[in-house]
Amino acid sequence: MSSPRGADPGTVLPRLRATPAAVQALRRVWRSHGEVLMILSAGCCGGSAPMCFPRDEFRLGTHDVLVGEVAGCPVYVEQRQLDAWPHAEILLDVEEGHAEGFSLPAGEGLHFVCWMSSSALPRREQPTDGRPA
């Protein structure tokens, strides 16, 4: 099995943060499903959402880049997405709603979401709720 080989040279990795709710949710998921991973999806109905899978469920590819860990859960973004959509910061959070696609839910009636800011262009100050602009 192949495994992530790290980011291409010159890639600026986004800073990864999580809300307390996301950390709690990941601990709950860990208790019910064992070790999990997250990978950021793209496009269409469930797109731009963090997908959460049991660690051995999703086959990571050579070009999936580890951008950090939250509550022991590694979070990956595909290299092409990092290149096309530079993120200065990814904030993992939970909201009400169905889990996207085949992702594990973040709890009963909850799903994982992420808020991202961009590093491609000048940034404004962060809003007071702590979400990246």
Binding site: I39, L40, S41, A42, G43, C44, C45, G46, G47, S48, A49, M51, F53, E57, F58, R59, G61, R80, Q81, A84, W85, E95, E96, G97, H98, A99, E100, G101, F102, S103, L104, P105, H111, V113, W115, M116, S117, S118, A120, L121, P122, R123, R124, A133
Partner: protein, 506 residues
């Protein structure tokens, strides 16, 4: 005129309190006895409950499908075609009812379901009825004593997993070619929109042999996974986003079966200066062509979500477009004059708001809209977002990531070369639009754009017979065309020798 909401007195649509799975031609309660609430996005109130199924239910559906396949895999092409025709007739006879159900569950305006979703679904079944009837094998005369015959054979039982944005039409896109090629199917609808497909099952249950179509509702992580990993399926057809698309390929790899993927898009819609050479019907059509980003609330994989407008006409053309956008009527999806309904779910609304905030933070200019829409009364809590236009740069995230809402990112270009460069500066390659009166230019652009579907001087048309599918990360395979029969068939080669003489090797 406004249709009465499903379940209320005088509505065209009856609603039960809860719906079971459609398995083997019967309504089967979920093995675990669990149900989930299904919301109407216009009111944020429940419509009904549907089965929250588990892997046992998937197994029951596969059992039923395999029992049915023993016969259905071998029926004549004429019989398959006749069943598809009957499905089309049944949908047509219930078109208004299904249009209202679809609109109420998904939020799309009923004018769209009446004009597009349902008639296209009907036509799709008719197209594949014709395709099934006219399927032919091929033969090759290898030499005077040797002939290679090629026959199509059904794959068997297939798994089909569809999205929330066109529940009935996507069901038609998946089911019709599968059945036409002689397969049975187990279909999993999207979690936000399981109900209208069950209404479809009610309409067609008497005309489809039991077990040929099976529908199991429930969460993707359990039901979808149990279905897609089953060694008892011969193919996966999936429409959705990229990571689940990868997961489908991974599951398919485990069982060594084929997979068709329709994934996302960030489609460019390119308007050249000659569009404004005359103030005529064509210009009027081009303006509508830009505003089509709001079709189906922007919840379309091919949403023309990036408008590229030639610099020299930008001010005047955009002014006309903004007037048209300002005239969009938003509200009750069951009102025939409504042009924009609610987003499918609270989470979609949240995602859209988040992206528009990102656009603002990146320096995009909000030309119109830019916030959740206030629709009062019964729709106070509905998931409405204003039709929005952001002017900016193609490097911005709102130009690169799929928002799946009524949000248009607009930018300008100087010349054709720049238009093509911006159009192709995306990870996706599903749809594109080109608007010009110059025939040579439309030819060059439509060939230069890396996308599976390039609409020229039109947009958002989905006739059966026009192949649909993605380049780049937008997917693998094609739908909506008789070539799909190949994707849902095995090829049997029978190689016949009429030579009386041995090879002479042994």
């Amino acid at each position: 005129m406004s249709y009465t909401a499903p379940g209320r007195a005088g509505s065209l649509v009856t609603v039960q309190d809860r719906y079971d799975n459609f398995i083997g031609g019967k309504w089967m309660p979920p093995a675990q006895g669990e149900y989930m609430t299904n919301l109407c996005p216009a009111t944020a109130k429940p419509i009904c409950e549907v089965a929250k199924s588990s892997p046992e239910d998937v197994e029951a559906a596969l059992d039923a499908a395999h029992v049915a396949a023993a016969e259905w895999n071998h029926v004549s092409q004429a019989t398959r075609a006749a069943v598809l025709e009957k499905i089309a007739d049944a949908i047509e006879a219930n078109a208004e009812m299904l249009a209202v159900a679809e609109s109420w569950e998904n939020g799309k305006p009923v004018r769209e379901t009446l004009a597009a979703d349902i008639p296209l679904a009907v036509d799709h079944f008719r197209y594949f009825a014709a395709a099934a009837r006219s399927m032919e094998g091929r033969l090759t005369v290898i030499d005077e004593h040797t002939t290679a015959y090629h026959f199509h054979e059904p794959l068997g039982v297939v798994a089909q997993i569809i999205p929330f944005n066109f529940p009935l039409l996507m069901a038609a896109w998946k089911i019709a070619p599968a059945l036409a090629a002689g397969n049975c199917t187990v279909l999993k609808p999207a979690s936000p929109t399981p109900w209208s497909i069950l209404k479809l099952a009610e309409v067609i249950e008497d005309v489809v042999p039991p077990g040929v179509i099976n529908i199991v509702t429930g969460p993707g992580a359990e039901v979808g996974k149990a279905l897609a990993t089953s060694p008892r399926i011969a193919k996966i057809g999936f429409t959705g986003e990229t990571v689940t698309g990868r997961l489908m390929m991974q599951y398919a790899a485990e069982n060594l079966i084929p997979v068709t993927l329709e994934l996302g898009g960030k489609s460019p819609n390119v308007f050249f200066d000659d569009v404004m050479a005359a103030d005529d019907d064509f210009l009027d059509k081009a303006v509508e062509g830009l505003v089509l980003y709001a079709f189906n609330k922007g919840e379309v994989c091919t949403c023309p979500s990036r408008a590229l407008i030639q610099e020299s006409i930008y001010d005047e053309f955009m002014a006309r477009c903004l007037d048209r956008i300002a005239a969009i009527k938003q509200g009750n999806p069951l009102d025939e004059t409504t042009m924009l309904g609610p987003q499918v779910s609270a989470q979609q609304l949240s995602k859209i708001s988040g992206y528009v905030d990102i656009g603002r933070a990146e320096g995009a200019e909000v030309l119109i809209g830019g916030q959740p829409a206030k629709v009062g009364g019964e729709f106070e809590k509905g998931y409405f977002y204003e039709p929005t236009v952001l002017k900016g740069d193609n490097k911005m995230r709102v130009f690169q990531e799929e928002i799946f809402g009524p949000v248009l990112a607009v930018t300008t270009f100087r010349d054709e070369a720049e238009a093509l460069r911006i159009a192709n500066d995306t990870l996706y390659g599903l749809g594109a639009g080109v608007w010009t009166r110059d025939t040579n230019r439309l030819w060059r652009m439509s060939h230069g754009i890396q996308a599976g579907r390039v609409w020229v001087n039109c947009y958002h048309q989905y006739p059966a017979g026009a192949a649909f599918g993605g380049y780049k990360i937008s997917g693998v395979g094609r739908e909506n065309h008789q070539m799909m029969l190949e994707h849902y068939s095995q090829t049997k080669n029978v190689l016949i020798s009429t030579d009386e003489k041995k090879l002479g090797l042994f």
